[in-house]
């Protein structure tokens, strides 16, 4: 389970697109949080809120506009030697949303999985390489006959398993899963989530789990961060966030999730969020503040006092 050791520290991370042009987008706007070793941090929010961009910037698919991502004590961004980059790429891997689009249709499954092994020279002989691939396939619930097939021969759930096997091939410590189950059927989603949980237990992996399906996120995550318009508005342990949502946006998001329970649905009261309720004026120091140990909310000083009072 999660320890107190920080694996990743994200400090004032910013990712702007089209800088200086009229269509400048502040996809990620000054967010800071830590990811502890062995935990699953869920990141939720509407589409366009910057949650995927955050994931991609952490793994350096985008160069950060500003801020730091510190992994195991070393900044990920900035100028790097080839070898440093390689080491880093091995420790951090990503699982993508669409298993159809993220696997090369012209490569065999064995080559897709072994690509990382080849790059990092993790297998000395052909035999060793193949053994490793078979082992990985078995870890994710496929078998060795699958190694010589092409991605189109698999179902969505199986393809996502291949994506997971590829991520595991280089023995990473940290995996960013960007909506790994959104494209799958309900009955298959549970299979993939169980697999991810099992792997975490066995290999002590750390996950950043990005999704918009909140009930699944609650199930898999230890802590959850809520994003809104490029900002992290609330971060708390999973149960705490669901039981005591403080930021009005979190409250509205939680009230919008449909649950498979007709009786609950009949009595559901949906809250809407209007950013104007904050009534921030200039000079309000809107910051990420800790309301209660481990529970952070984006708020001004005045709201901070209010929230704290509410809490008691």
């Amino acid at each position: 389970m999660a320890s107190n050791e920080k694996l990743v520290e994200i400090k004032n991370l910013k990712q702007y697109f089209n800088i200086g042009k009229p269509n400048e987008v502040r996809a990620v706007d000054d967010i800071s949080f830590d990811i502890f070793k062995g935990e699953t941090l869920g990141l939720v929010g509407e589409s366009g809120c910057g949650k995927s961009t955050t994931g991609r910037t952490i793994i350096r698919l985008y160069d950060a506009t500003d801020g730091e991502v510190i992994f195991n004590g070393v900044d990920v961004h900035g100028k790097k030697k080839k070898q440093e980059l390689k080491d880093f790429n091995r420790k951090m891997q990503m699982i993508f949303q669409d298993p159809q689009a993220s696997l090369n249709p012209r490569m065999k499954v064995s080559d897709i999985i072994a690509e990382g092994i080849d790059i990092h020279g993790l297998a000395k002989t052909k035999e060793e390489r193949m053994n490793r691939v078979v082992e990985l396939l078995e870890t994710v619930g496929l078998n060795k006959e699958h190694a010589n097939r092409y991605p189109h021969e698999f179902s969505g759930g199986q393809r996502q398993r291949i994506g997971i096997a590829r991520a595991l091939a280089v023995e990473p410590e940290f995996i960013i899963a960007d909506e790994p189950i959104s494209a799958l059927d309900v009955s298959i989603q549970a299979q993939v989530v169980n697999l991810m949980k099992k792997l975490q237990k066995e290999k002590g992996l750390t996950y950043l789990f990005i999704a918009h399906d909140l009930s699944m996120v609650k199930y898999i995550s230890d802590r959850i961060g809520v994003m809104y318009f490029g900002k992290l508005v609330e971060l708390a342990p999973a149960d705490e966030l669901y039981n005591n949502p403080i930021h009005p946006y979190t409250q509205s998001l939680l009230s919008a999730i449909p649950l498979p329970d007709p009786n609950y649905e009949r009595n559901r009261k949906r809250k809407t969020y209007n950013p104007k309720v904050h009534n921030y004026s200039e000079g309000d120091n809107v910051q990420f503040r800790e309301i209660k140990p481990g529970h952070f909310v984006q708020c001004s000083e005045k709201e901070f006092e209010q929230y704290k009072a509410q809490y008691k």
Partner: protein, 347 residues
């Protein structure tokens, strides 16, 4: 309750290079006036094919309605001529598709797209149609309808586009509205708005809705009745309470227990093992048998008929046969069954 749509023993096949895919294998259901029937099931279970068959939108070149009838107000839609069908489509029965981006024409203003069915079916003049279109845009909650009327789809957000699609579908006050995963591409907050909008409009114009989705949360929110499809058949049908709190079919059990509710604790999530059946060679017995831990010998040999649970609740599983052994459903389902008893007593 009057029936507005009846589907009787529908069989549909697709002819492909590898052979005949039996996508729909004997589907029966009724749709009552003013109700919402949700059809759930995983991809490939035949829910979209059923809805497209009702709209007669299946490709003629390789699909084949082998037998069965679709009765709409007594007329069999499968036998109508193309011309007669055009009078039904968009006027009496209309459809909302999953992806609002691809179901709107990017080169036409949305106003034109809404006017299209009105001019065609209601024979209104252009000016009158425009007035009506603006009314509908207002109805589906689009601000500044006069300005928005002349804009193109790319100028709308995803949720707004889906509102426009709903406006087009409702333009002629259809008697039946088929919504094929209308909110799957949308965010939860937008989804909640669209669902509220649909329920609200249903009350106002008294349409019946067939709601296709795989999200059980959405079903619990909108449906009056639920049909669960698996392998081209309806395996369970009943009121929303009956299906969610007292499910009978092992597939429904699996579906319900594989979704975490907000109070699912750290226990492992139940996952239905295996993959859906290949309908190129549908299994002889119950299509779910290979994935079913409760399967009995007969499941592999003979397809179960629909057994009656209550007047409104039917399920196709041999477990309901009087001679079948009593089995314990998964914990999550047992929890729900207790809830069901509480609800019943509460009434």
């Amino acid at each position: 309750m009057t029936k507005i749509l009846e589907v009787n023993d529908l069989h549909i096949s697709f002819h492909t290079f590898s052979g005949e895919v039996q996508a729909i294998r004997g589907v029966n259901f009724d749709l009552n006036k003013g109700e919402t029937l949700a059809i759930v099931g995983e991809s490939g279970s035949g829910k979209s094919v059923t809805s497209k068959a009702i709209m007669r939108l299946l490709p003629e070149s390789n699909s084949d309605i082998k037998s069965g009838e679709i009765l709409f107000e007594g007329k069999d839609l499968t036998k109508l001529s193309d011309k007669a069908m055009q009078k039904v489509r968009g006027k009496d029965i209309s459809m909302i598709f999953q992806d609002p981006m691809t179901s709107l024409n990017p080169t036409m203003t949305i106003g034109k797209q809404i006017i299209e069915p009105i001019v065609k079916h209601q024979k209104l003049s252009k000016a009158a149609a425009r007035k009506r279109a603006i009314e509908i845009l207002e109805l589906v909650g689009i601000a500044n309808p006069e300005v928005r009327f002349n804009q193109y789809p790319h100028q709308f957000s995803g949720g707004m586009r889906q509102r426009v699609v709903i406006a087009i579908a409702l333009a002629c006050n259809p008697k039946v509205l088929i919504a094929d995963e209308p909110t799957t591409a949308l965010d939860v907050t937008i989804q909640a708005q669209i669902l509220e909008l649909m329920k609200d409009l249903q009350k106002k114009i008294d349409t019946s809705i067939i709601f296709i989705t795989h999200d059980l949360g959405v079903v619990a929110n909108v449906a009056d009745r639920v049909a669960v499809m698996y392998g081209g058949k309806i395996v369970e049908i009943g009121t929303v309470d009956e299906v969610f709190y007292n499910p009978q079919h092992p597939y429904t059990w699996g579906l319900i227990s594989s979704m975490p509710t907000l109070d699912t604790e750290d226990e492992e999530l139940y996952a239905i093992p295996g993959t859906p059946p290949n309908l190129l060679h549908p299994p002889k017995g119950d299509a779910f048998a290979p994935r079913n831990e409760y399967a009995m010998k007969i499941d592999l040999e003979e397809q179960p008929p629909m057994f009656k649970v209550s007047d409104t609740h039917y399920a196709a599983t041999w477990l309901l046969h009087p001679d079948a052994p009593k089995v314990e459903p998964p914990l999550a389902v047992q929890r729900r069954q207790r809830q069901f008893l509480d609800i019943k007593e509460g009434k």
